[in-house]
Structures are given as C-alpha cells and as structure tokens.
C-alpha cells in the first residue's frame, strides 16, 4: 500500500504541526540561546559565537558531572532492568495476593516524581531520618549517616532512589512481554527436558526481547531526564558530587553561574548525546533481525558464558538435588514462599508512601524528632482538615482534572490516526516521521521552557487552559504514537481486509475495526498521558500560574508549601496523598488492560 505523500500528510500533519510548534521551535530557541551572550539577570547582549560552549568545556566540574551522568544512566537502567526481570517473573506466576503486589507496584509509578523524591529526602535525613532509625534498630549501622548530605554517600543515595522509582514501570513493561509468550512453547521445552535456566535462557529471554528493547529505550530516556530525583534530594547540596548534566544545566543557568547561554549549551549537548545513543541503539537492535549486529553478538556471548558458568559450577550432582527439590519440595513450599516474597516486595515499594501517610499525622515537632518515630505519638487528625484551609485544594484538583482530561483527549485524537497510518502504510518520510516523534521524547521540558513561554505569549495563551492543554499534548505525543504504532502493527492485516472489500475507507476501518481490537493499548496510552499531565510541574509553573483567577495546577499549588525558611512536611504529605489517590485508583481499575497494553508489539 504505497500512497502519495500528500495523502499521508492528512494523517500525520496534525502530529507534525504540534511537534514543530511546541517542541521544535522552542528547541531551536534553546540552540539560539546557547549562541547568545546573556548576562546574569537574563538580558541578552547579542551574538556570542561558541563562547558559551568554550566556557562549558572549561568548567572544572565538567568531567565529574559527565562521569556521574554515565554512571547514573548505566547503573539505574541496568539494575532496574535486572531486578524488573526477576519481579516480572514473579508477578507472572499465580499465587495468593498477586493482585495486591501488582497494585503496590503501581503506587510509585503513579505518584509524581517530585513528591516521591520529597518523601525520600525526608526519609534519608541524618539524625531524624527514618532510614537511619530502621538500620540502627536492625544493628546494621551504629550511628546516623547523612545519606544525602555526606559527599561520600550522596550520589549513591540518589542512584538507589533512582533505581527504586524506575523499577515499577520497567517491571510492567516486561510483565506485559512475558504474558504475551505462548504457554505452549514452554510445554514443548519441558518435553525436550529443558531445566529452569535453559528454559529461561533459550525460550523466555529471546521471546522477551522486543519488550526488553522497548523497556530499555523508554527507561533510558526516562532516567536521563528524571530531573526531580536528584534535584529534590541533593539539589541544594554545595558542590557537584551528585549532579548529572541536567541538574547541572539548571545550576549553571539559574543558580551558580547565572548564565542561561551556558546552561542552554549544556542542554543542547545533552540532547545531542541522547539522540545519538537512542538512534544507535535502535539501529543495533533493528539491524539484528537480518544480520547479527554487535549488540546482538554481545548479548548472545554474554548469555552463553553465563549459561556455561552456571552449568559448570552446578555440576551433575547438584542438578539432581535441585531436580528432586523441584519435584518434591517446591510444590509444598510454593503456596507459602511466593506470597511471602510477594509480601516483602509489596512492603518495600509501599514503604515510602506508608511513611508519607504516617508522617501526615505527625505534628511539626515530631517530624523532626531524633530518632525518628515509626508511628505518630499524637495523631494530628487536624492536618487532614487544615490542609483544605492552607491550600485551595478544590480549585487545584479541578484545574488539574480539566487539563489532564483535555490533554489526554487531544493527544489521542491527534496521535492515534498517525500511529495507525504509519503502521499500515509505507510512504516517503515515514522513517523521518517516526524518528522525529522519538526525538521529541528525549527533550526534557525543563530545557525548553523559555522558548515555550515565548511562544505562548506570542499566541496570547498565558494562563489559558487551551495553551497548557496543547503543550501537554505535544509532550505526550511521542509515547502515544509509539505505543499505538506497535499495537496496530501487531494486528493481523487480514482482519482489515474483509472490511476493505466492503468498501470501508481507512478512517472507518480504524474507528470500527481496529480501535476495539487494540483497546488495551489505547487504555495504556490514555492512562499514561493522564498521569504525566497530572504530575507535570515545570511548564505549568511558567505558563499557567495565575492565582488571582484561580488558575493553578495541583503540583504547582502544593509547591507553595515549600516556604523560604521551612517546609510544612505534614501538609505537603497530606496534599501529595490527596493528589495521588485519584491516579492510583484510576490505574488499579484498568490494571488488567494495562498489562496487555504495554505489549507494544515490537520496534518497527
């Protein structure tokens, strides 16, 4: 089905226009800023050539920040994926309480990163930190450690938090992949006498690869741009012990060097690296289908070696034992062991939110008690009532609801046809379009905010609902297009052919035949967008912030509790929980669809 370019334009031009307007133009503005001489107050003084880049390269902290960034991405992505592989395996087995464990994993995913990071910072405090209390009660440490303060631990603390907050999303993507594997394949494997390792190595892993590829790309981008984790936890620490390029760009632009030109230069640099990494990765993975690429070869070599070592060290005798254990002991232990492991996993991932919940009942003094208390000594129920006086919560909830719902609707209307068309047709510029979409995903809003603000002013959209809705839609376009493209491509063309015979046009085929088939994917895209918009902070702060006319979103409103001299943690936690509950409930109601939906076919 090859069509003329003009025809494809009708399907994809809304997406392209949205991307150009909201992302490409501000990105060009960022490049332009990086070539300007901007003084400490933000006033521009003309063209600077490459001076900002030269300054950046001369920064003494550059090497340290770059190595931090590499370690951060490799470690967080790597460990999250390894742990998520195990967790997905566990959640794919049937056991008592499995649903509960799955729900527990949803909470960290659905909660805004700013709020999760805030509670982690609170937990990692030195004297009054609950992590220290817990470790001291266990006898692991004898004196409190300043986890995020001590330069020796600060970076590793944020890496650990980064891993914990990245695992749930990764697990869900891999779980979706696991569930897509046909059970009959395993039966066949069993008949051939494959042990658990061999089954995993030669059946599960190869079949899981498409999901693994998607997970790796999405998680890499997510981790590269997860500004809040580092910013909230160690952002006010002197020095660059735990900075990555993104937090450092912010410091250069607005805190230390006060040089927006140099900050923009670093952002440009950042985006270029990310684009190169993602495109190289995609190419390596895609090329692997026809000819073995370096990545494919490394992958095979690595697993081969692991497999060898496994069988060598295990030897024949232990295999026999483990075989007996598997046949005799395991069936009896399993009904207890799996729920127990599940319980531990659920408790681990819910713990920060339990701390948030319990702390929301503490009074100001107890929040800083040394050592920290597990349960509130005096339950301050009034915190939950007072927060409605401290913050105009009803207004904030209403605004966030309107904006999240409208943005989600808009992005689906624009992205779904484009995803359908690109999945079903080969046309000039198709690859270009898909790459454009992918690249928009790697641009962090925080780097583009000046350009976006300028444009919103130009179209007279400051503090207008439609403007923030359009901007949010643009930033979620990539994810929706990608997921839906995979979904449509995964559906057999034969389904459509009958409808085509009856003379249904492509638009009707998409609406009547295809959409019902890909409903799980649609639900996933819908929920994911909703949550992203619900939690979005930087853009709303800049283009939609007018308390006089009751136009403020929830995350921006909650941030008001961070005062000049103190943070009202109890109210912050109450408000965060109130903001999180609707999202978690929404997530849980569609959880079953979600797992199916993330099986986004493969990378086409």
């Amino acid at each position: 089905m090859r069509h003329h370019t003009w025809r494809s334009l009708a399907w994809i031009s809304p997406s392209v226009l949205l991307i150009i307007a909201v992302i490409t133009l501000p990105a060009l503005r960022m490049v332009w800023t990086s070539l300007q001489l901007t003084d400490e107050t933000g006033v521009s003084h003309g063209f600077a050539g490459l001076a900002n880049y030269e300054r950046l390269l001369a920064e003494p902290a550059l090497v340290n920040v770059l190595s931090n960034t590499v370690v951060w991405v490799l470690l967080v992505v790597g460990v999250s994926i390894v742990v998520a592989l195990g967790l997905a395996q566990l959640l794919n087995k049937r056991f008592f309480g499995r649903r509960l464990v799955r729900w527990a994993l949803i909470v960290p995913w659905a909660t805004s990163l700013v709020m999760t990071s805030t509670v982690w910072r609170y937990m990692l405090e030195g004297g009054n930190g609950i992590v220290n209390r817990f470790l001291m009660d266990l006898g692991v440490i004898s004196a409190p450690i300043g986890w995020y303060q001590d330069p020796r631990y600060a970076f590793w603390s944020v890496v650990a938090v980064g891993i914990v907050v990245t695992i749930p999303f990764t697990t869900y993507v891999l779980l979706a992949g696991l569930q897509a594997i046909d059970q009959q394949v395993y039966e066949a494997g069993k008949l051939d006498g494959a042990g658990p390792w061999k089954t995993y190595r030669y059946i599960t892993l190869p079949l899981l690869r498409p999901a693994l590829v998607i997970a790796t790309i999405l998680v890499t981008i997510y981790v590269f741009n997860s500004f809040p984790v580092i910013w909230v936890i160690t952002g006010s620490n002197p020095g660059n012990f735990s900075d990555i390029t993104l937090t450092w760009a912010y410091k250069i632009a607005f805190q230390q060097q006060l040089n927006t030109g140099e900050g923009a230069a670093l952002s440009v640099f950042n985006v270029l690296i990310l684009i190169v990494v993602v495109l190289l990765y995609l190419r390596a993975v895609n090329g692997d289908r026809e000819r073995k690429s370096w990545l494919g070869r490394t992958w095979t070599a690595l697993t081969e070696r692991l497999g060898e070592r496994w069988s060598r060290s295990a030897g024949p005798a232990p295999v026999k034992v483990s075989g007996r254990v598997r046949r005799k002991v395991w069936p009896r232990v399993r009904p207890v062991a799996l729920p127990l492991v599940g319980l531990v996993v659920a408790a681990f991932f819910l713990a920060p939110y339990a701390v948030m919940f319990l702390s929301s009942f503490k009074d100001g003094a107890e929040l800083y008690a040394v050592p920290a208390t597990y349960l509130p000594q005096h339950w301050e129920w009034s915190n939950w009532a007072n927060v409605w006086d401290v913050l105009p919560l009803t207004m904030l909830l209403r605004n966030s609801l309107i904006i999240a719902a409208a943005s989600t609707a808009l992005v689906l209307v624009i992205a779904v046809p484009a995803a359908y068309y690109t999945a079903r047709n080969r046309f000039t510029g198709r690859t270009g379009f898909l790459n454009l979409v992918l690249i928009t995903q790697v641009l962090a809003p925080v780097a583009l905010v000046v350009g976006i603000y300028q444009e919103v002013i130009y179209v007279d959209g400051v503090n207008q609902y439609w403007a923030i809705v359009v901007v949010n839609a643009a930033f979620n376009l990539a994810f929706v297009t990608w997921i839906m493209n995979g979904q449509f491509a995964g559906v057999d063309v034969a389904i459509e052919e009958a409808a085509m015979m009856e003379g249904l046009g492509p638009m009707r085929r998409m609406l009547r035949i295809m959409l019902p088939v890909v409903r799980p994917g649609l639900v996933t895209a819908l929920v994911f967008t909703f949550i992203q918009v619900w939690n979005e902070f930087v853009i709303s702060l800049t283009v939609f912030n007018d308390p006089t006319h009751d136009r403020v979103t929830l995350p921006v409103g909650i941030q008001q509790l961070v005062g000049l001299n103190q943070t009202n943690y109890q109210y912050l936690f109450v408000a965060s929980l109130i903001a999180t509950v609707p999202v978690v409930v929404l997530f849980i109601t569609i959880e079953r669809h979600l797992v199916g939906g993330l099986t986004a076919g493969s990378v086409k």
Partner: protein
Amino acid sequence: MEVRRRAQLFSLLSVCTVLTATSCAAGGPSASGTTLDQTSCDKITSGTAAGASPNRPGGGGQSLNVQQASLETGLPRTTTSSKTISFVGGAYTGTTEAYWKDLAGKFEAANPGYKVNIRIIDWNNIDQQVSTMIQTKQYPDILNQNKFSGWAANGLLQPVDSLVTPTVGNDFIPSFKKNSYYQGSQYGLPLIASTRALFYNKDIFAKVGIDKPPATWAELVASAKKIKEAGYTGYGLPLGGEENQGEWSLWMWSNGGDWKSNDQWSVNSERNVQSLNFLSCLANVYKVTQANPGQTNRTDGVFRPFANGQTGMIMGASFAPSLFKQWNSTVNYGIAPIPVNNGTEPFTLGVQDYLVSFKNPGNTEAVSKFLNFFYQTDNYVRFLTSQGFLPTTQTASTALKDDPDFAPYLDLLPIAKFYPSTDPAFPKAQGTLEAQLGTALTPGTDTKSVLDQIQTAATQGNGG
C-alpha cells in the same frame, strides 16, 4: 602584569614567614592538601595572626553615593496608562499568597477599575521564573526579590522614590534606604528585614557550667568543646546551599574580613581564608559541630535541632522565634551579640528584600497607587506579623516595638551590615558561594581555592 604577580607572591611569602601554616598553606600557589591541626587552629583565635590584616573593615562600608533623586524623573508619561498590573513575589511562608490575594482584593475594592494580578512562586523556583520572564521581556510591574542592581544596570527598572508619596519614602529606616540605590537612584523599596544574633541554649550552658555566652571566637571554641563533651552539638554550623551566604558573612565580618575592600572584591583575601579555615577547624579539628556541616541547611539542619534542645549554640535570626513557636518548641534560649575575633567591632547582619518596579509603558500610576496602599501602616504591619519579618519603616518599627518577638532585634538594626547587594556582580558571587562554600569543609580541601572560585565569579561577567 608579571611584575605585579611576583610582588603578590612576595608579599604572600613574607606573610608566610610571619604566620604559621594556617593561612599560607592555603594561600600558597602550590599548596594543595591543606591540613589543619590543633596548633594551627588555636593560632587563629589567639590573636597572633591579626598582624597580617590587609583589610580591616570599619571605614569601608557603603561607598555608595546616596542622593535624593530628583522628582522630575517620575513625570507622568504620555503613553496610555494601564489600570491592570502584575505582581510577582516569593512565598515566604505558606500564607504569603493568601496575604497578597487578600490585599489585592482590598485594593481593587478601594480603587474601582484597577486590577492587580498576583503570582507567588516558591523560592526554589523564583530565580528560574524571573529569569524566564526577563529573557522573554515579560517584565512584571512589581517584583518582590532580594536583589535589584542587575536589572537597574540594564535600565529595566524605574526609580521608585517618585512612585511612593514622600510620607512613605521618608519613612524608611535610613540604613535600609541607603542600601536600595544604584548609581544615585533609588530602585528598591525596602520590604522586609531580618537580623542575626547568637542563640545559646541556657539549660545546656547551666548544665555544663558556662555562665555567660561567648564574646570571642576563643571563648566560643572553649564553650563548644564543653557542650560537645556533655553529648550535645557544640555549635550548629549550616554551610549547605540554603543560606550559607548569611552564615559565611557573619564569620567573615566577625574576623574583620569583608566581601569587598576599597570597592574591589576581596572574597579570597587572606583574612577570609583564615575565617574559612576556622570553620573547618570547628568541624574537623575541634569536632564541635553536627555531622556534615558543609551540607547542612539552616532551617531543617540547625534551627530544628536547636529548637529540639540538641544544640548549644547557633547563629539565630530574628524570624527564628516565630518558627520555634510554630514548632511548639520549649527550648530555653538566650540571645547574645555575634562573637568576634581579632578585636572586631560588634555588628549584626541585616538582610533586606525589596520591591522593585519594571518599566512597562503606562504602568506608573497603577503601580504607584498599589505601592502606597501596601505601605499604609496597618497593611504593612499585617504583612510583617503574618510572615515573621522585621520592618524597614520607622512607623512600623514604632508600632511593633512592644511586640516581644520583634523588640530585641529592632535594637540591632542600627549596627546592621549588609551584603554588597547593590553591586550587580553580587548575585553571581552569591550563587557561586551558595553552590560551593560547603565543599571547603571536606577535610583536606584547599579552602583558598574555594574562595578563589567565588572571587572569580564576582569579578568576571558572563562575557568573559
């Protein structure tokens, strides 16, 4: 150039022969791993190092040319005037936004047809937000910030003395008003003030047998050691990014150093290196501070433990008592002057924030009306009491002089010293200091190189 550098090196060398390792190890170009030990630390407070003081404070002060800007700068413009203005401010507390919205409502009721759009931003994000507005030329009509000179230097601000009535303009406490000028014109209206003093825990002092608060660095070390032995934090030292420019200024000034000397930046002066070494001594040699002072923020890391009775001494602030009250703290504490070294005169740090007005065509009349409305004594006092800050006007000082939360600090205002915030280079120096000073307390760090970075930031613009 070469000659000058050699001369500097010479003077440095001769200083080194006089002094012990304390300041010259850090000052020497080849010294990297500075090690402070008991002897070198004790030397700082013993007065023997005082001889090498190149820059005594005192006379320096504000060399600013204060003059009453003439009224004709504020002549009404011919452009059409706008009755709607925007106000952008920082969230001092959780109630700041509520105050301004309420005030705007009252203003609009009293002045039909006028409108004030309020936008309050938390302090973590305000610099980024304001910078974005400036870059996109969306100047707020009124802005509440802690600096102004950079915008004034770029010609973005309108002089404010003509915007407020003489009653309001002449009501400001002279020292605050003086600190609101840039090149002869007043661009900032003093909004709030705070001062600092030594807070000490009376119960801990009684328990370990210290009868009076320390007046010198040597006494402070002695007291802190005793307190530490009793199991408390001797001195709570916050050099984390939140407010370390305040803590640093206090130590710098109390040792006789300063940000600038003879109108030139002198952040990395020998005296200042010595002050920073002393802080390193407190943390790493005497070990009388809390853990990780280089990464500790003031409010959560020092005020809270003090309010909970875990700390002997801190540099407190005039707004701290209202925080202690909110936290239901029962700490029994006294207030004393800042301990000094090298025989420095008593002083306090005065911090003030400003209201400034950007030049937007036709905004003068509405801005003027709103500012005069805000500085009406009852409106202004309500702002101060709700946010917990000291007044910058004489009328409000009189109104608050019987308030026990304000009285002790109002008396300190006459000896207040200020940041050199009227210098356009100060924000960058401050930003670098906030971001780097704490790293100097990691044992073995070359303290001078940290101060060098701040000096460089102050003396080099973005143009390079």
